[in-house]
Structure formats: structure tokens, C-alpha cells
């Protein structure tokens, strides 16, 4: 079956995973078409692509920092992990969007893949 690839905006992504936008630090003009799922920040730092959405269950201040360093401007927290006020304010400062989602990483990733987001490799 032919895969249909789409460019999505923040709200479209949030709707697909029944998530909630909790930080809107970046008005991406280009939208998103690629995502990467990992709880390992070491992995995230090895990515070469730009404009990647990070799907993760690791909700710490370090997650936001890592995204900032890797030029990632959208993070989706899965497994009902919450962004703390400190994380939200750092995200806003750094121009990063955050979505919170109740689903598992597998379910959220599957839905976004099905809806047309591409893997990094």
C-alpha cells in the first residue's frame, strides 16, 4: 500500500493523539513531517534531521534542554507524563511546543505514522 505523507501543524498532531497543547513556544511555518520516538536523550542528540517531532515518555527539564540543543521545536509527552511549570517556561523561552498525551509511546507513534508522519530512518 502506498504511504501518504503529510505535513501537519501542531493542533492537527494533537488531535490525532487526543492530546493537549500545553506550551506554544513556536509558530512553525513549515509544519511537521518527521518524528522520532525515544526516552533516551543520548539517541536524540545523534539525529541529523531538522524539524523533527520528539515523542518521549521522559518528562524532565533535561528533555527540554536536549530538544533545544538538537534544534527540535516540538515535543510530545506520552504515557500521561506532564510538563512541569518550569519545563513549560523553558520551552516557551526556547521556542518549543509541548503536547501532552495519555497514550503509550507505541499507540501515539502508530497513530501519527498512520496519519502520515515519517520516521527518521
Amino acid at each position: 500500500m502506498e504511504r501518504r505523507c503529510l505535513i501537519m501543524d501542531l493542533q492537527q498532531m494533537a488531535n490525532i493523539i487526543d492530546g493537549r497543547v500545553v506550551a506554544n513556544g513556536n509558530e512553525s511555518r513549515t509544519g511537521y513531517n518527521t518524528a522520532f520516538a525515544s526516552d533516551l536523550m543520548s539517541d536524540v542528540l545523534t539525529l541529523d534531521q531538522e524539524n523533527v517531532v520528539l515523542i518521549t515518555g521522559l518528562a524532565t527539564l533535561q528533555t527540554i534542554r536536549t530538544a533545544e540543543m538538537a534544534d527540535i521545536n516540538c515535543i510530545i509527552f506520552v504515557r500521561n507524563k506532564k510538563a512541569s511549570p518550569e519545563m513549560i517556561s523553558l520551552a516557551r523561552e526556547s521556542g518549543i511546543n509541548i503536547v501532552e498525551c495519555r497514550y503509550t509511546m507505541f499507540r501515539a507513534s502508530g497513530l501519527l505514522y498512520q496519519a502520515g508522519l515519517n520516521p527518521v530512518y
Binding site: S42, L45, Q62
Partner: protein, 144 residues
């Protein structure tokens, strides 16, 4: 132009603060976006290493027209076997560090990938010095 930052070992909530400041500076100086991206990733890996593995460190960033020199000098346990530490997957990270999403043994190889030259010297029991250079022109950024 030269900037210096202190890095506190063990303080994960501040890890990345210095790298973030450098990123802003490089952007202001209009350094090529690809170069900034690679340098900042390498710098952040090195900063997190000081936080994760050492006690105290100093970051020095020296920028001129030709190149960017980054030095992280720390007081800490040092590295016994540098060749081994450079191997992907080798890590002595504590459980606390792993809980933060680090400690996969990928930092040093990733630094090597992202800068033009990397030099590590260390005295076990005393500390470690990581020196990285990226050239504005003719470095890895242009080959790829």
C-alpha cells in the same frame, strides 16, 4: 571573542545552561546554522559529561574568523582509558544519570562526529580536558 562558563558537577537542572548561552551567542554572531547546530550538540554532550561524571568544570569558548575553539576543563575522577571511553556503548554512568536519559555511552563518539578535531587528555583522580575545534570553512560542514 572569548566566553567562560562554570559547570557544576551533579547539578542536572542546570546542565545545558552554558551550551544554551553559547548557542544564543553564535546565532547573534551569524555563524552558519549548520555549524552552530553541530557545535552546540558537541558542546552540550561535553557539558553533560562534566555534570554526569565530574565535580566541577569550566567551559571556554574562543571564536575568531577562522574557527571556534571549545574547551571543557574539569576537576573529577578523570578517564583511565580514553580509547575505551571513546567506544560507542561504553559508559560508567550512575543510575541517576541513566534516569535522566543519559548514559548510553554515545556522547564522546557523537562529539567526534560533530567537530573537526577532538583532543581529550586526562589525569585519573584529577580531571579531564576536552578540546574541540570547528573551522568556519573547509571543515566537516562543507564535506557533507
Amino acid at each position: 571573542m572569548k566566553f567562560e562558563y562554570d559547570i557544576e558537577g551533579g547539578n542536572f537542572s542546570r546542565a545545558g545552561f552554558a551550551s544554551s548561552e553559547v548557542k544564543k551567542k553564535l546565532r547573534q554572531l551569524n555563524v552558519d546554522i549548520q555549524i552552530v547546530r553541530r557545535i552546540v550538540v558537541a558542546l552540550y554532550e561535553a557539558e553533560v559529561n562534566v555534570v554526569a561524571h565530574a565535580w566541577y568544570g569550566k567551559m571556554t569558548v574562543d571564536i575568531d574568523e577562522e574557527k571556534i575553539l571549545l574547551i571543557l576543563d574539569d576537576e573529577g575522577p578523570g578517564i583511565e582509558d580514553i580509547d575505551l571511553a571513546m567506544k560507542e556503548g561504553f559508559s560508567t554512568a550512575s543510575p541517576e544519570v541513566r534516569e535522566m536519559g543519559f548514559g548510553a555511552g554515545m556522547g564522546l563518539p557523537n562529539i567526534k562526529k560533530n567537530v573537526d578535531t577532538l583532543k581529550i587528555t586526562s589525569e585519573p583522580g584529577k580531571g579531564t580536558r576536552v578540546e574541540m575545534i570547528t573551522y568556519m570553512k573547509g571543515g566537516k560542514n562543507e564535506k557533507s
